[in-house]
């Protein structure tokens, strides 16, 4: 499939749905929910063979969105470096294991400094355990999947009074960890009292209870991440929330079917997040949702073992995409021009009324600032 073919296909879908697309509404306050997805190749997403794995992004969200099908990752195609690049607007080259802070200020920091908002306005809820508190000073970092991993390990390894991986026992174990061990897990708290705040605490406990006793019996890390992020939005409504889904990263262990399942789950959860925002009067008109994958993965036949990894530096690995929904998107359209992921930073900042100074990234003129 050529880029021209893809563009034709995307434009056709837009044309079909454009009259029904919702016009952007003026917003009294501006919020951004930024969702980053792990590595997803073009052949498992925005290609004729791949669209079946992302039906909601393609059929439901694309027609309402400002869509950049060609968003290049020109930095280090690893998780921490990519996400910190997107947050700073500068390609980062720091420790991939989350042992270092980004070398430049993040969107969170620009926003805190210029709007004087408190840490309750800046949240990261992530499935990827590498996004430790180092991702940005002064931001609340919830390593949701890691909380569950720790709880599962404690039960499996006999380190807990709870002995079976049953839903209630897991909820109890996660709740206990939340009380005592969140910092060891790598969660970030701007102040020691942050997680002692009853509102914050209730937010997290409520999300855990929804996860364990939810109607669809969710069990994956990304499901938990979604529920915590949704609860943070509901109860705390921060100005900037970054969410990361990573179930597709099971690809590193070589199960293609589970990798495809992870892609499908992120498709479903992105759609659910948008539906949730649209259904919440306090969020609907003020919230822009930005969705992008961090990178692709290595091509079949590469010496790096194909879809298992994302380090070849080839186009299959570097070519990502970005979708903008809500007030900053303006009228739905597909922008065929190549952009860089770091272009999103000044664009999101500008929409939020924040000045990032001179960054390598360019302001995307399509953002409805």
């Amino acid at each position: 499939m050529t880029r021209r073919d893809l563009s034709r296909m995307l434009l056709a879908v837009l044309a079909e749905r454009l009259p029904r697309a919702r016009a952007a509404a003026p917003a009294p306050a501006r919020r951004v929910v930024l969702i980053t997805l792990g590595g997803i190749r073009r052949q498992e997403s925005w290609s004729p063979a791949g669209l079946r794995y992302i039906p909601r992004l393609y059929q439901d969200l694309l027609p309402q969105s400002l869509f950049y099908p060609y968003a290049l990752n020109e930095g280090v195609t690893s998780h921490f470096n990519t996400i910190s690049s997107i947050l700073t607007g500068v390609w980062q080259h720091v420790d991939d294991w989350g042992g270092e802070k980004p070398a430049n200020p993040t969107l969170f920091q620009y926003m805190q400094e210029q709007t004087h908002c408190g840490p309750e306005q800046t949240w990261v809820v992530t499935s990827n355990k590498q996004l430790t508190a180092n991702i940005s000073p002064g931001v609340n970092v919830i390593l949701s999947k890691q909380l569950m991993v720790e709880a599962v390990e404690r039960i499996v390894n006999g380190q807990s009074q709870r002995s079976r991986l049953e839903r209630q026992q897991l909820l109890d174990e996660m709740s206990a960890l939340l009380e005592t061990d969140y910092e060891r897990i790598g969660w970030g708290v701007p102040s020691e009292s942050a997680f002692r705040d009853p509102a914050v605490k209730q937010t997290l406990l409520s999300a855990l209870a929804n996860f364990i006793h939810g109607p669809d019996a969710p069990a994956s890390g990304d499901d938990l991440t979604f529920l915590i992020a949704r609860e943070v939005l509901t109860r705390l409504a921060p100005a900037l929330l970054m969410v990361n889904f990573s179930d597709m990263e099971v690809a590193h262990s070589g199960s293609y079917s589970l990798h495809l399942g992870g892609i499908g789950r992120s498709d479903r959860l992105c759609h659910a997040m948008w539906q949730f925002i649209q259904a919440a009067p306090a969020l609907r008109d003020s919230t822009t949702l930005v969705i992008l994958n961090e990178f692709g993965r290595d091509p079949d036949g590469s010496s790096t073992n194909g879809f298992f990894n994302h380090r070849s530096g080839m186009e299959s690995c570097r070519l990502a995409w970005a979708m903008v929904l809500g007030p900053a998107a303006g009228a739905p359209r597909v922008v065929e021009r190549e952009i860089r992921q770091i272009d999103l930073t000044p664009s999101i900042a500008a929409w939020m009324g924040v000045d990032c100074g001179r960054l390598p990234g360019s302001l995307l003129k399509e953002f409805h600032v």
Partner: protein
């Protein structure tokens, strides 16, 4: 061993710094290298040693210039690289340029030092088998590869023919120039072929004790790079003979190959089909056997919550009953068997010299690719005829 060449210390010193640790490690492990690796390494070193100074410097100058700007901070005499070292390299802003330049240099070296002679022209055989019990009707089998090959009808299910087929291949009279580890390899999820004598058989099922020990140790890794490196070093040095099947433990090269596969990620400790794919790809790259049989298997469904901790035994503490995942296993094995074929295409001795057979245990046809695929008989082949065809090809 007496045939170990002296380490070309001076030559290694003249090479870019990023080459040193890997080369030193290869010479240190000389006794554990397969014959094909020794031939290749020796040919590369010989060619470089004879390269006129001006050409040598010209070949490596761009790479050395990039390295000088990378601030790697490595010990240039290090015997091997740790996770921290490779992390510094991979996150350098100059890494893409470095990688491209390394590929250019190796392309030049491999072209000039390409092995020739009987090993390169040998007819070879690659067989990949999808497991029994997968819903073949749900997927088109190898649609892209099928366009390049031909379907050979069989007189019965491929799975029923495998035992006599594998036995015939394993007991054939191999070319005299091949040593024991260059003849036939079998890599399988189950333990159907572990009784085959005289050939390395790597069975996921039979190495359970070894896998469990490695997983147990890896689960204890702390969240810091020193802990990762330390555990990696310990596992590379650990005595594993007592938890490795005897036939593998007795062959040091194969035993260390197995250790290397299990410790190099790619899911080889987690999922049986990932093990088969990665071990097969590594065997093709390193040992370059004349015949390789890769038998994929059934993966179990991941259990709720346990699936988050892939390195754990999902049966521990989980009340959910275990069950197979036939559909998922088919999707996995289809792609991964294609990867084994592609892995062979990256090793010079296979393309153009290899008959590849891809089939499913429950299917009565196999896809033949490569040499002579178009000349296969149109009538259904019996087990004997299939074995005869493969043996005839191998000579």
């Amino acid at each position: 061993m007496s045939d170990q060449p002296p380490v070309p210390v001076d030559l290694i010193r003249r090479l870019p710094a990023t080459f040193g640790p890997a080369l030193r490690d290869q010479f240190a492990q000389w006794n554990l290298l397969f014959s094909a690796e020794r031939r290749q390494l020796q040919a590369q070193m010989d060619w470089l040693a004879k390269l006129p100074r001006e050409e040598f410097d010209g070949l490596f100058a761009p790479l050395a210039a990039i390295e000088s700007r990378m601030a790697l901070g490595w010990d240039s005499n290090a015997a091997a690289l740790g996770v921290r070292d490779t992390g510094i390299l991979a996150r350098s802003p100059l890494y893409p340029q470095w990688r491209a330049e390394v590929e250019r240099v190796f392309s030049r070296i491999d072209e000039a030092a390409a092995p020739s002679g009987p090993f390169q022209k040998l007819p070879r055989l690659l067989v990949c088998v999808l497991p029994a019990g997968v819903p073949l009707e749900e997927q088109t089998l190898w649609p892209e590869l099928a366009a390049e090959g031909a379907w050979l009808p069989l007189a019965g299910p491929f799975g029923a023919m495998l035992a006599p087929f594998a036995s015939a291949i394993a007991t054939r009279r191999p070319p005299p120039e091949l040593d024991a580890d260059e003849r036939t390899w079998v890599i399988e999820c189950g333990s159907r072929f572990t009784a085959l004598a005289g050939v390395p058989v790597l069975s996921w099922a039979d190495i359970e004790a070894l896998r469990r020990e490695f997983l147990h140790r890896l689960n204890a890794v702390q969240r810091d790079l020193r802990s990762v490196d330390r555990t990696g070093d310990e596992l590379r040095r650990a005595d594993i003979a007592h938890i490795t099947p005897h036939s593998l433990a007795a062959n040091a090269r194969v035993r260390e190959f197995l250790r290397g596969v299990l410790l190099s990620g790619n899911g080889s400790l987690v999922f049986p089909n990932s093990f088969v794919e990665w071990a097969a790809a590594e065997a093709l790259r390193r040992a370059q056997p004349q015949a390789l049989l890769a038998c994929f298997g059934m993966r179990q469904k991941l259990k709720p919550f346990s699936s988050l901790v892939l390195f754990e035994d999902q049966n521990r503490a989980n009340p959910v009953a275990s069950s197979d995942d036939p559909s998922g296993s088919l999707v996995d094995a289809l792609l991964l068997s294609g990867y084994v074929y592609l892995a062979a295409q990256r090793v010079a001795c296979y393309p153009g010299h290899t008959l590849t057979l891809l089939g499913a245990a429950d299917s009565d046809r196999v896809l033949a690719l490569g040499a002579r695929a178009a000349e296969l008989p149109g009538s259904p082949a019996s087990a004997e005829a299939l074995a005869s065809l493969a043996l005839g090809w191998l000579g």
